[in-house]
Every structure is written in structure tokens, then in C-alpha cells.
Symmetry: C2
Subunit: 136 residues, 2 copies
DNA sequence: CAGTATCCTCCTAGATACTG
DNA sequence: CAGTATCTAGGAGGATACTG
């Protein structure tokens, strides 16, 4: 099998970025793998309506307040979600995805589906690898 | 803008996985963001031929021996690269991408291109966010 | 309700030195 | 050449307690 990607073009595109832009690009891509980021985004996108902090915490099972706060701040700073504070008592804060986030999710989704569809291959590869290591 | 993703189907697909499979799926997806993983894979895929350890180290600028070794071991275990040892002195070890890795790269590539294309938006979002924080 | 603040532990990853 | 071994600093992220 041959790579269908035009690597020359891809590398040229990378070279065209300033160091700062390159670093930011990397941060955006690698941001999807911070532990709760994708899950949080997915819940907001699936809802198709703003969600309050506590509703998100319920849906993203296992996340701590501290981690969720951090994730939401980062997503807000990256322009992937909006945060709206209502001047009420008790306070109400609503989060919602931006169009930028929906674009990104549409690109991440195929990757996730592919990984899930091929999970048996990964398990087989790992089992085979672990066996080879044991022998030696 | 409305999400084009069928979230019901997506969540159902997740539910269908065992806990182990789900965790492995996550590991594969998040693996792309470990610091040197994608770069290493890209160099091997772009070469379209096996590369020796030292050639990879030259191309992946800045990676340490230890980190590269770890990345290569993980990729090998996940079935994304092959490792071939030649019984020679001095030793020769050649690494190459598998078809599974090329499939994955074809899904990761659009995401990377999108991030690079939208880097200006992310910079603008961050600048705007940082300004808002300063005011308060 | 929606967070901060503090403490703590594990993991990542670099630097350096050594080896079959 | 292609690693392994050891030490270390820094960050991620959980638990818990407190607050406007």
C-alpha cells in the first residue's frame, strides 16, 4: 500500500507557517487528546443547545470540577466554545459549541470511527507483540 | 450551524464497545498527540521505504534517543509500524509503516490541514480572550 | 451554582552515562 | 549502531475544602 498523501505539499504547508503558528496548530490538534476535551465538546455538540456547568459535569462522567473548568477555559480560549454568564443568584453559566468546533468535530469523527472499527486489529497487534516479547 | 454528525449513532457505537475496547480506541486516537508520534509516522510514511533508527532521529529534529525509542516501541505494539532487526555488526534496525498506519494518516491529515488553515482564527480567538481577561 | 485554592501523586520527557 | 539505565524537573489531573 502506498501513501495517498502528498507529503511534499504537506511539508511545504508546514514550512509556510511561522514557529508560532506551527506551535498553535500542534496545540489545537493535540488538544483533542487531553483527557476530557473531546468528550466535553461532543456533549455540547450533541445537545445542540447551551449547557450549564453542572449539566456538563453530569454528562462527562468522572471528570472533576477542576479538570472540567480547565478544559472549558482552554476550549473557550481556542474559540471552540462560548461562555455566557447570567447575572443571577444563584449564578448561571452556559456553554455552547462554536461553528469552528463543529468543523473540527466533523474531521475528528471519522478518525474516531475508524479507530473503533479497527479495535480488533489493535488488540491482535498488541497480543502478538506481547507474546513476542515474552519469548525473548 | 448545525452539527452534521449523527450523535445518536456515534454514542450507540461507543456503547457497543467493551470497556477494554473503548479504552484502546481512546489510546489510539490520543496517541497521535504524544509529542513525537505523528512526526515520526509522517517521516516513515513520506519515505515510502524502511528507515533506520539513526535516520529517523535525524529527520525528527529534537527528539531524544529515549523518547524516540519509546515512541517506536508504542507504534510497533499498536501495529502501526514494523521493526526488523538484521543480525549484523554493527547492528541495523529498520522501521516501516504498516497499511494500518497509512489509513490512519489519511484521516489525521485533513484534521492537521484544517488546523493549519484556520490558525489565524485561533490566534484571533486567543488574543480576544486574553484581552477580555485583562480588563477584568 | 460555579467555581478557587491547596495538596498530592503519577507520568512525561529531557539530560547524561553506559553497553551488546 | 541502537539501544538501556538512572536521575530529574515539570505538568496533568484527582481529592478535598472553601467561597462570591
Amino acid at each position: 500500500m502506498k501513501s495517498k498523501i502528498d507529503w511534499e505539499e504537506a511539508y511545504a504547508a508546514c514550512e509556510a507557517l511561522t514557529e508560532n503558528e506551527d506551535s498553535l496548530t500542534r496545540d489545537i490538534v493535540t488538544g483533542i487528546s487531553e483527557k476530557w476535551t473531546l468528550w466535553t465538546l461532543a456533549e455540547l455538540a450533541a445537545e445542540e443547545a447551551p449547557l450549564r456547568f453542572s449539566r456538563i459535569m453530569e454528562r462527562v462522567e468522572g471528570v472533576s470540577q477542576k479538570s472540567l473548568t480547565k478544559v472549558l477555559r482552554q476550549l473557550e480560549r481556542d474559540g471552540l466554545i462560548t461562555r455566557k454568564v447570567f447575572a443571577e443568584v444563584p449564578p448561571r453559566v452556559e456553554y455552547a459549541t462554536t461553528d469552528l468546533a463543529l468543523e473540527m468535530l466533523e474531521l475528528v469523527h471519522p478518525l474516531w470511527k475508524w479507530a473503533a472499527a479497527n479495535v480488533a486489529k489493535f488488540q491482535a497487534a498488541q497480543t502478538s507483540y506481547d507474546l513476542r516479547q515474552k519469548k525473548n
